[in-house]
Assembly symmetry: C2
């Protein structure tokens, strides 16, 4: 999947914006290359996204109640802005999508249910000339891993985490930005639909046939190595997540990262973003969890956790956030920061120092 020209987006979150954290919508607003014109969410009318998630010009996005109102603002694509567990289309969104396609809007979706495979949607797109992009559609490639070794001078860094939906993608994006700011050839490797919407390429790893997860991750790194040297790979799930751990391990063993960055959300005691009605699952203590990642990764290729990236959103007070960062650094013995909140420069500098002896720097 290759990048597209800039679009003017309406993001559909109807009725779900506050329920589901809307991580897709927020990720696209914060990091995407497309212009987000408005949110289609009748429960949000009268408010701007910034009112809910904090003052940032990128979130200065109004909400509209109807597709007609969005069209009046001059949009050219509808992006489906939630990533529900299991990735199914909420039934009451059918009408909105049909109307959007009928009006000639492209529809961009990261759902497991492919929009383009639905005959009614396909017919609507065909008669209006609109394009449907299903980001989760897997590449037409059925190859298992061959044990590929990374190219010389390439640094592959994977974000892993203590839960899903705590910021592994954002951390990878902030670290890539820091690499670029230092004049290095930084690359972000999208492995989920939101990352793909932001970057315009990649593979939604959780949609692959299980047998080909590692083989496809290996190939993604081969592609990324053609784009640069400091390769920041978006992690998925967590190694202890009852539903998603196998995808996490597939990324670890498929990308064989030289280094991992552990993403953690202090203050969270249990796995949160789950669909696990039958039991609760604790977040594991960092030092043991870090050691276990190194052991498990090392079954296939040596790898170290070289830094901890905290999501300090549960500590709105900045002094408290800086305190928990210092405590975590002390606990783990690793460079620690919140790159999403305080920028990625400091943490990337520490990672670079760990991976590249100062003598080889240009």
């Amino acid at each position: 999947m290759r990048p597209s020209p800039e679009r003017r987006l309406v993001i559909l979150t109807e009725g779900q914006f506050q329920v589901h954290d809307a991580k897709t919508a927020l990720g696209v607003m914060r990091y995407g290359r497309d212009r987000v014109v408005c949110l289609l969410d009748s429960g949000m009318v009268g408010r701007r996204v910034a009112d809910l998630v904090g003052d940032d010009p990128r979130f200065d996005v109004p909400a509209v109640a109807t597709l007609e109102a969005a069209l009046a603002l001059g949009v050219d694509a509808l992006l489906i802005g939630i990533a529900p567990t299991g990735g199914k289309l909420p039934p009451d969104w059918r009408g909105i999508i049909l109307a959007a396609l009928g009006a000639g809007l492209d529809v961009l979706s990261g759902l497991h249910t492919f929009i383009a495979d639905d005959p009614e949607f396909a017919a609507a797109a065909s008669s209006s000339g609109a394009t449907i992009v299903d980001y989760r559609r897997p590449p037409d490639r059925m190859e298992t891993s061959i044990g590929r070794v990374h190219g010389a001078g390439k640094h592959v860094i994977l974000t892993v985490g203590t839960d899903c939906a705590i910021g592994k993608m954002s951390v990878a994006l902030e670290l890539r930005q820091a690499a670029l700011d230092e004049g290095l050839r930084g690359v972000f490797v999208p492995t989920g639909q939101t990352g793909m919407m932001i970057e315009g390429w990649g593979v939604a790893v959780d949609r692959l046939v299980a047998d080909f997860v590692q083989g496809t991750c290996e190939w993604l790194i081969e592609e990324a190595e053609m784009l640069g040297d400091w390769i920041l790979v978006e992690g998925q799930g967590s190694l202890d997540h009852p539903a998603y751990s196998s995808v996490t391990l597939g990324l670890i063993h498929g990308t064989t990262p030289e280094a991992m960055v552990m993403v953690h959300k202090p203050g969270l005691d249990e796995h949160e973003f789950t669909h696990l009605p039958d039991r609760s699952f604790p977040i594991h203590p960092l030092p043991e969890f870090i050691r276990l990642h190194e052991q498990v990764a090392g079954l296939v290729a040596p790898s170290r956790v070289v830094a901890v990236a905290l999501n300090t959103s549960l500590y709105p007070d900045e002094a408290a956030a800086r305190r928990v960062i210092a405590e975590t650094a002390e606990l783990t013995g690793l460079p620690t920061d919140d790159p999403f909140r305080f920028g990625g420069a400091r943490l990337f500098g520490a990672i670079r120092a760990a991976l590249e002896p100062p003598s080889v720097r240009r």
Copy 2:
């Protein structure tokens, strides 16, 4: 997928019988409910399978060179008897499959490439009335894990291993037989195409969409609990396999086994049944590998490795095999045997003793 009536099979291995170990063909001959009439493999003509793999009435199967010769022996289905890495159809088998369908034979396949989705094959089946069974086709089910807890009195036991293709399926089948022999309600849960061909139900886990591996394994156990109490789950791959580890972990975290049986092939130093031209990968030492399985499984639900099942095929001398079994028991502190060679009764007895206090036995 539900059991079918007994069939009379010709197994297609043309040119591959000796190259690929033919684990599908041998598994179906040894454990299947269907009658294996002949092998279609021109390189094997004049020999019986027993000549290559040892004297056992179940392997008293002749080879024929042509489909016509197989038809003359009164077969009613063609089973594709190899499981190549990546699961693609060898191009020169197209003609044989087309001819078989044309002659009204059902075609049974465990390949990733679905036979029934090929228009030419589908047309041939349709005009002759033959049925195509693609065992690897995933169930029409898109559900992630919900953290389901096992029913009371159910014992879920998963085979894990130090490599793929060393006998995890056979060990589970032998232990299930031992449970039945003790008058217990034993169940075998097939998780790969060969197990499904043998048992007539199950799911080829490596073909699932990655996001649904754990959710589907969880559901398989729910199904198995309706069939019995001692649930022997066929494992896949190995936790340290560069290509298949994510499927292995999906089974561990999806079935949340009370106990695991570690399958190991002494004498093997490197991963063997791989497609890894770029590097070699060592087999890991048992004690550490066992501990790591308990740690990794325990991230989601407590589990113990309660026994070691050895594949002693590299020790043809029986005394040597018994010696390596004793040494492994000493090394690991666990009950150890080769249930494939010496029967599953002793090892199952030890597993039962570990899981069920004698006081609760009926």
